[in-house]
Amino acid sequence: MTTVLVVDDEHRIVRALRINLSARGYEVLTAHDGRTALESPRCAERPRR
């Protein structure tokens, strides 16, 4: 399954996108700023460039 990371500082936009994408069958991760996005589990698995 494809995983999508949604990052935005506006909670409501994140929420709307999350619902939309999940309904389309994606796995959705969310974050509210760049740092938390980088620290999210899937990102952390990849080696940092």
Binding site: D9, R12, V14, R15, A16, L17, N20, S22, H32
Partner: protein, 862 residues
């Protein structure tokens, strides 16, 4: 009308006496009738033209025993009215007529529109009039009174009429006493009392009206005083207020003098003016640094510093002192030795003799009696030097002759000759040409008479005697010329220094004063003892006064006593006295400085204008970008949510649908809040916020504010229900509190404990209340503190958090236009409170909203 006074002695104009009161019921009519009785008892013929008792028993009682001229009856719109019968009063011709309510408007159809016009007729007929007027009826105070009381006065009387009265008696009574009088039913009928006490006769109203009345009368007295002074050309001072003038020479004792004068002024509760007197010829030139120090000391002590130029120091000083209405003058005792004082009485003595009503303090100081330092060669030929020269011209030859006669056998002719030559030189050095020539001739004569053969005769025996005479005269002339030249150079130097000091002071004014032009003109006026100074500019052939100081400034260079052109189109026009040619140079420079000041002022105005425009543009740009961002974000959310909802391909659960709907609603709320703040900002900017104050409790307000905030569970509230109420507009205060809490929530958020919002509802579950709202009383005020623990704001920027579109310490990510706090501040101030920002101990920002405790008094009923 007033001009006819005294022109025709047979028809003297009557005198007007006015009883002035702050409000109805203070007792004007009562006082007026009392005076009428007193005059009647003194045998004056008194008649009452018109008195309205308003049903007041005590006033009616006072009418007993006074002759009342019957009133005229008039019918207007089917109603009966009575007015004063002017013809009947004129026919009756009493010495004194009593006419109540000067401001009364007569019924249409009367002979005059206003009663004061009736009164003018009586006065013209030579009848003295006693009348009354309330301060709210004075024309000039009409709008002020309306603002205070909210009642528009239709009956007014021109100030002129009242000011022309020979005597104005203020009937003064404290607001409390008047209210008591009212409550006792002495003024109005019983059914009107309560309404009157609650409306027009509120303590606040009455106090304001009373102050108006007192000020008006005080003003009247001041105008009368000034008028009298200018009419009588009085230069004597009037001790209306204590003013101490300290005169300094710029010598080493000046500072001591200023401090002593300050103490004298403090004791007398007086204003202190320090004046530095410069001699026009610059002979007592003081070191500029000493004068500058004195200026600093004077200004530090709250005194004003002035410089005056005058050839004669005592006269210049006294002119200045009278000009500023000084009551006391502080001088230092002379620095000169007792011997020097024996020849010339000195400035102090001269001032004391001419000071008139101004008290003169002679202050001793350490420098006194040390003696003047020897300044030979620098001094020009002052009067005292010439006197000394003449004395020496007589004494020295006489002494030499005496000594020569005593030691005739030991002293040769040549020794005598040398002695006389020496004497001539000394006299020339001290007294100049005149005494030197006299000494030379006298010396030659004495030499011839006593020391050449034949002795004891003035026979010119040989060429030797002629040579002696000529030599002595030549020596006298040469030395005197050198001395004279030196003195003249010294004088020029000193004068140049005075000029330089004046110019420096003008330049300093232009550079440092906030209003350089007026201040500069004021200095010129002061320094040259002028009446008025005006800067005129020609625009399209018409002269226009750009700036002026002093009374009666010129409007055209032709009117001026001295006209100093700067450019063809800018002139400095002086009035007061004609100035000697040598002052012209300084004046030209001053005029140049005035032009510079004018240009500088205009440039400053232009710069300020440009800056305002730049700021407006900047603000508009900030507004657009901030509003753009803040409008777009919720719109994007709405668009995303609606898009998902409308997408037929998506199969959404009931919960998803609900969440998307909530997103739309929340975003719409956010937009509404933003628009509200924008509208409120513009209402505040245009000043159209009108708060409706009523006592409210913070408890209620905080509850209402929180109900509109969706993140309220992160706010901890500690507001006691029992706290005193504050006077506030519920709607406005609620917006203030909501905005401040909203700001704290948005900016004061701690870093979330869990980095990623795993459950994905847009909220971070594991957080503690981040914003605390607390209320407490502090003396007379109740304070609401909204505390966050966010990044806080640098100390020096704390004040600017309330500036619109200011997002201090904002990372770009934080939403909000930066209007919330600005609106909060505007509203808080509109309801009479204060709002301040401070550091939260341990980091973060605390906003404090402070309002006064509500008192159960009538002051807040408005």
């Amino acid at each position: 009308m007033a001009e006819t006074e005294g022109v025709d002695p047979r028809r003297r104009r009557g005198e007007l006496r006015i009883y002035l009161g702050a409000a109805p019921g203070v007792g004007k009519t009562f006082a007026m009738l009392g005076e009428a009785h007193r005059r009647r008892e003194r045998g004056t013929d008194v008649a009452v033209g018109f008195v309205e008792t308003h049903g007041r028993v005590k006033t009616a009682e006072l009418l007993h025993g006074l002759e009342v001229v019957p009133r005229r009856r008039l019918v207007h719109r089917d109603a009966d009215f009575t007015e004063m019968d002017v013809d009947a009063v004129l026919a009756r011709r009493p010495e004194v007529a009593v006419v109540d309510e000067l401001a009364h408007t007569n019924v249409p159809g009367s002979r005059n529109a206003k009663r004061w016009q009736d009164v003018e007729e009586l006065l013209d007929a030579g009848i003295d009039v006693l009348s009354t007027v309330n301060v709210q009826h004075l024309e000039s105070l009409n709008d002020v009174v309306q603002r205070i009381t909210g009642v528009q006065q239709r009956e007014t009387v021109p100030d002129e009429v009242v000011r022309r009265a020979e005597q104005i008696e203020l009937i003064d009574i404290t607001p409390e006493a008047l209210r008591r009088r009212l409550a006792h039913g002495n003024v109005y009928a019983a059914h009107k009392i309560d309404a009157a006490l609650g409306n027009y006769f509120r303590v606040g109203n009455l106090t304001a009206l009373r102050e108006l009345a007192l000020l008006w009368v005080a003003d009247q007295v001041d105008v009368a005083l000034q008028q009298y002074r200018s009419e009588q050309a009085i230069t004597e001072t009037w001790e209306t207020r204590e003013r101490v003038v300290a005169a300094i020479t710029g010598g080493p004792e000046s500072e001591t003098l200023i401090r002593r004068a300050r103490r004298i002024a403090l004791r007398a509760g007086a204003e202190l003016l320090v004046v530095h007197v410069m001699r026009g010829d610059g002979l007592t030139g003081a070191a500029p640094e000493v004068v500058a120090k004195c200026r600093r000391v004077a200004e530090d002590l709250g005194a004003t510093f002035h410089s005056v130029v005058g050839d004669d120091v005592p006269t210049a000083l006294l002119e200045f002192a009278r000009g500023v209405n000084a009551t006391q003058l502080v001088l230092g005792t002379s620095r000169r030795s007792r011997l020097a004082r024996a020849f010339d009485e000195g400035i102090g003595q001269a001032v004391v003799q001419a000071s008139g009503p101004i008290d003169v303090h002679m202050v001793t100081h350490d420098e006194a009696r040390r003696g003047l330092r020897w300044r030979f060669g620098r001094n020009a030929l002052t009067r005292s030097r010439r006197v000394t020269g003449w004395a020496l011209a007589v004494l020295l030859p006489a002494a030499i002759t005496g000594l020569g006669a005593l030691w005739r056998d030991e002293v040769s002719y040549s020794t005598e000759l040398v002695a006389f030559l020496l004497a001539t030189c000394v006299v020339a050095l001290s007294g100049g040409l005149g005494p030197a020539l006299f000494a030379a001739l006298l010396g030659a004569g004495l030499l011839n008479f006593f020391f050449t053969q034949p002795y004891y005769s003035l026979t010119v025996a040989g060429p030797e005697n002629v040579v002696t005479l000529i030599a002595m005269v030549i020596v006298a002339v040469i030395v005197a010329l050198v001395v004279d030249r030196a003195a003249r150079l010294a004088e020029q130097g000193a004068r140049a220094r005075t000029e330089a000091a004046l110019l420096a002071s003008y330049a300093r004014t232009v550079l440092t004063s906030p209003y350089p032009l007026v201040r500069l003109l004021e200095k010129v006026r002061e320094n040259f003892g002028l009446e008025s100074v005006a800067l005129l500019e020609r625009r399209e052939g018409e002269w226009e006064r750009v700036a002026c100081v002093g009374p009666r400034p010129c409007d055209d260079p032709d009117e001026a006593d001295a006209d100093v052109p700067v450019t063809a189109d800018v002139h400095l026009a002086l009035r007061g006295r004609t100035l000697p040619a040598r002052d012209q140079r300084v004046l030209e420079a001053a005029a140049g400085q005035a032009l510079m000041a004018l240009r500088q002022q205009r440039m400053a105005a232009e710069t300020a204008d440009a800056q305002r425009r730049a700021e407006a543009t900047e603000l508009r740009t900030a507004l657009l970008s901030a509003v753009g961002h803040d409008l777009r974000t919720p719109l994007t959310s709405i668009k995303a949510a609606i898009g998902s909802l409308r997408d037929a391909e998506l199969r959404l659960s009931a919960q998803d649908t609900a969440e998307l709907m909530a997103t739309v609603e929340e975003s719409a709320d956010r937009l509404t809040g933003l628009v509200d703040n924008l509208l409120d900002s513009s209402r505040l900017a245009t000043g159209s916020v009108t708060p409706q104050l009523r006592p409210v409790s913070y408890y209620e307000i905080v509850a209402r504010a929180l109900s509109g905030i969706d993140e309220r569970r992160t706010v901890s509230v500690d507001v006691d229900e029992r706290l005193p109420e504050v006077p506030a507009d519920v709607g406005l205060l609620e917006r203030v509190v909501a905005n401040v809490i909203d700001n704290a929530l948005r900016h004061g958020r701690l870093r979330p404990r869990r980095a990623v919002d795993v459950d994905g509802d847009g909220r971070i579950a594991d957080e503690e209340p981040e914003v605390a709202v607390r209320a407490s009383t502090h003396g007379d005020r109740v304070e609401l503190r909204v505390v966050d623990h966010g990044p806080g704001i640098p100390k020096n920027a704390l004040d600017s958090v309330f500036t619109p579109f200011q997002r201090l310490g904002d990372r770009d990510a934080t939403p909000g236009v930066g209007l919330g706090l600005s609106v909060a501040k505007g509203f808080t101030e509109a309801i009479g409170g204060t709002i301040t920002a401070e550091d939260t101990p341990g980091g973060g920002l605390t906003i404090v909203i402070s309002l006064p405790v509500h008192h159960n008094g009538e002051e807040h009923e408005a």
